[in-house]
């Protein structure tokens, strides 16, 4: 009798695991996470986190992170990692600031090109020399961070003073939504999304299915750079002048946001576009909530690090770990 109960219990446990691992529930977990985290902070801050003023503040931090995450989302879908995003944001911001004196559209295009160029550099070394992407991008991160510091040694690089007049909420929201919609459309309704997931899930087999894996990987790193180059524009209109710390730690913020949003760290077929949106929102709410509760920076980092570690430990798929490139 007891033995039977044990067996039955085991079966129930297996069923629960099965449901957790396979069903749509898994896709909804990050959303529940967002709701819970908002609720918790709402209670802890006496509802002040859901006042218009706080929401505005949170949103103001969302734009750059969300746009840049979109690019990294693509990179992580193919099983890569990109740590160079912060330095890309820095360089592109500097380029945009310099050129803002001549023409704003020209500055934006140049910013995108600068980002694309760094991304292409990442992609080239990753594909051509078969260096794991996290190593390549850590190298370029230091390289371009150095360049950033050099260019801002004497004084911050100021943009045209009037550029901050463009710091309008509606403009930033529409640009962010535009980027999200374009990438969403391409990812969902063209073959690119399917191909990227396939590369992330098994690169050799993807190659044998007719996907030009090397070219695709190169282009995706380039695209990620270009997208962050565009995000730099929103950064410039917000801050007006660029210091050496521009884009500092952006890469880790992106990584944490995407993972909190439910993106499997090894990419592949289980990625969802919603990971980007929910992840960045969770991150920004968490960030602001901790500030509002008055924790100092060191403690904030400690808490964020802990949460990140726990989420990764709980969601990691051991089987596909070897795929990380």
């Amino acid at each position: 009798m007891t033995e039977k109960t044990i067996v039955e219990e085991k079966i129930t446990l297996m069923k629960v695991k099965h449901i957790l691992s396979n069903s749509r529930l898994r896709d909804l977990l990050p959303l529940f996470g967002l709701i819970i985290i908002v609720a918790v902070f709402a209670v802890m801050t006496d509802m002040s986190i859901i006042e218009a003023r706080s929401i505005n503040l949170i949103l103001s931090q969302v734009y750059v992170l969300m746009i840049a995450s979109t690019g990294v989302f693509l990179v992580m879908t193919i099983g890569g990692l990109d740590f160079s995003q912060g330095s890309i944001l820095g360089i592109s911001s500097i380029v945009i600031s310099y050129l803002s004196f001549y023409s704003i559209p020209l500055a934006v295009i140049a910013g995108i090109l600068a980002g694309a160029l760094i991304g292409a550099c990442n992609g080239f070394f990753h594909v051509k020399f078969k260096i794991p992407s996290f190593i390549v991008t850590i190298c370029t991160m230091y390289l371009f961070r150095g360049l950033c510091a050099y260019m801002t040694t004497d004084a911050p690089v100021a943009a045209k003073i009037t550029i901050t007049e463009l710091n309008l909420t509606w403009l930033k929201i529409s640009l962010t939504v535009a980027v999200l919609l374009i990438v969403y459309f391409i990812f969902t309704f063209t073959k690119l999304g399917t191909c990227l997931k396939a590369i992330g899930a098994g690169e050799t087999a993807a190659r044998f299915s007719g996907i030009r894996t090397n070219l695709t990987k190169f282009l995706i790193f380039t695209a990620a750079g270009a997208i962050t180059g565009f995000a730099a524009f929103l950064n410039v209109i917000k801050v007006g002048s660029i210091t050496a710390t521009a884009g500092n730690q952006l890469e880790t913020m992106i990584l944490i946001a995407l993972v909190l949003g439910g993106l499997p760290i090894s990419g592949g077929a289980r990625v969802r576009f919603s990971n980007i949106v929910i992840g960045t929102l969770i991150y920004c709410v968490l960030n602001n909530g901790l500030v509002m509760l008055g924790y100092d920076t060191a403690i904030q980092q400690f808490i964020k690090g802990t949460i990140f570690l726990i989420v990764v430990a709980l969601t990691i798929d051991k089987k596909s770990l070897h795929i990380i490139k």
């Binding site: 067996v7 085991k10 309704f189 063209t190 073959k191 399917t194 191909c195 997931k197 396939a198 899930a201 098994g202 050799t204 087999a205 993807a206 190659r207 044998f208 299915s209 007719g210 996907i211 030009r212 592949g268 077929a269 089987k319 596909s320 795929i323």
Partner: protein
């Protein structure tokens, strides 16, 4: 039967949704060699793996001498008197022969925390001598020895401590005749000492000759146990497959002419260190076989045709003059390729059945570059069902499917692509009889539709049974060519292979 030593009670094991072992109950007697047979995937290896602590048991239990045996790993199993010689390489590279033999039991030679290597080597040498494997040096690195010697070392490792139960899982295939004789000799000795051997093998002649009783598993279920002295190969086959194996397993037609229309011409194709100057033509509606030893280069020929080889020279040309030199070109021009390395090259296992089936056809499925999910689902469903993939739906991940079903997904994607030239490398490797028969039938059907097939295979019977023409390779070059003929025998082909 003599006194019962080991009882299996309602043993079950699943991997994901695949039920590998279903409710198996059986008994083993003291002092017998007990054969365990069944098709690939029938659950033999999984069953004994649970006995030896390699896999955990889902439900059910083993009773050794009336006491429940529940071990978590092989060392624990050894302590309880159960050992196994596994199918794959069971010795660890980078250790000496002696270290391998006493792996997990080094304590015997440790005093005050220090291992006495000399004593260990001396003891290993004594054992090797006792087993008659004196040519193996106990102190040498195991890497100095080839596969067969390493298997002999495993025999010592698994039996020197007088276990009550010794499992020998599919070991003889790795051994030459001499090695087999050695193994049989020790099997008999161990049995005569009153111990029990569970012997797994695909070679029915050997099983009948060297065992006392034979148990049959099919699809993870226990079927029957027969006395070896009463058993015949045909009867065992019938028990294994569950139905009479019809001779119509392969094609039965002989002497039908093949069209003279060339669809693919391969000229002087070389891949460094793999193949050298391969030239042949493939005709419309032909099944062309490639045979040879595993390392003869035939597997690279398939990759080379598909444009997947690195550093290939020479030309692969279609009837209309198109040169094939990359995978996308090959796929666009209706060439299909199923690799021998199914899980890594043929199919993306951590992706859905749908995505796997649509990928090669993705450009055709897009309307003005836009993909519609409904259309993709329909397409995947149609072809998965056409060749009856067992699945819960096209959203299911391929990683949960059995080997045979994975191969069906591979075939579904290429049939969906309506490929004209189909390169199948080891299409029936590790696949059970039923799916094998399905695949052969499918090949005949494709041939009848005028498709051309290149079948690369290590199974000579399959080449003889299915191909219009067989090319035998040796050391990277073509060493012989045979036309389909009823009188063609395995020996004819083997003579060209070695």
């Amino acid at each position: 039967m003599g006194e019962t030593i080991l009882v299996a009670e309602n043993i079950c094991k699943s991997f994901g949704i695949t039920k590998a072992v279903r409710d198996v109950s059986m008994t083993f007697a003291r002092g017998e060699i007990h054969g365990l047979i069944g098709e690939n995937g029938s659950g033999k290896s999984t069953f004994v793996s649970m006995l030896c602590g390699i896999h955990s048991i889902d439900s059910g239990r083993f009773l050794l001498n009336g006491e429940e045996l529940h071990v978590k790993n092989q060392v624990e199993a050894n302590d309880k008197g159960v050992s196994i010689i596994v199918q794959e390489m069971g010795t660890l590279s980078g250790l000496t022969v002696a270290e391998n033999i006493f792996l997990g039991r080094e304590d015997r030679f440790v005093k005050y925390g220090i291992k006495n290597t000399t004593a260990m080597n001396r003891e290993a040498a004594r054992l090797l001598d006792k087993y008659g494997f004196g040519h193996i040096d106990a102190a040498a690195m195991i890497d100095h020895y080839h596969f067969e010697d390493r298997k002999l070392i495993e025999i010592v490792k698994a039996t020197y401590f007088d276990p009550q139960i010794v499992v020998i899982d599919e070991t003889t295939t790795a051994l030459s005749q001499n090695g087999r004789e050695e193994l049989y000799k020790h099997m008999k000795r161990i049995r005569d000492e009153g111990k029990t051997i569970i012997f797994i093998s695909h070679d029915l002649t050997e099983v009948i000759e060297f065992t006392d009783n034979i148990s049959v598993l099919r699809d993870g279920s226990y079927i029957d146990t027969v006395k070896s002295s009463d058993a015949s190969e045909d009867e065992l086959k019938r028990l294994m497959v569950g139905r009479e194996i019809a001779s119509k397993y392969y094609r039965t037609d002989y002497g039908e002419p093949v069209s003279g229309e060339t669809v693919l011409s391969v000229q002087g194709v070389s891949v460094p260190e793999r193949i050298n100057g391969i030239s042949f033509e493939l005709y419309k509606g032909e099944i062309l076989g490639f045979g040879g030893l595993s390392e003869c280069g035939m597997h690279e020929v398939g990759k080379a045709i598909f444009g997947a080889s690195y550093d290939r020279t020479g030309s692969v040309t279609l009837a209309d003059g198109t040169k094939i030199d990359s995978i996308p070109t090959a796929i666009r021009h209706s060439i299909a390729y199923a690799s021998k390395d199914r899980d890594n090259e043929s199919i993306i296992i951590y992706d859905s059945i749908r995505d796997n089936i649509i990928l090669p056809s993705i450009n055709d499925l897009a309307e003005k570059r836009i993909l519609r999910k409904k259309k993709l689902n329909e397409f995947a469903n149609r072809y998965a069902k056409l060749i009856s993939v067992k699945m819960t739906g096209v959203d299911q991940f391929v990683s949960n499917l059995s080997g045979g079903n994975k191969q069906k997904v591979v075939l579904a994607r290429w049939i969906g692509r309506d490929s004209d030239i189909i390169v199948l490398d080891s299409p029936t490797r590790g696949i059970d009889v039923k799916v094998k028969a399905d695949i052969y039938a499918l090949m005949s059907e494709l041939k009848a539709k005028g498709k051309s097939i290149i079948m690369i295979s290590e199974e000579i019977q399959e080449l003889l049974g299915m191909c219009d023409r067989i090319i035998i390779m040796k050391n990277g070059v073509i060493n012989g060519e045979f036309k389909r003929d009823e009188r063609l025998s395995e020996e004819d082909l083997i003579a060209k292979m070695v």
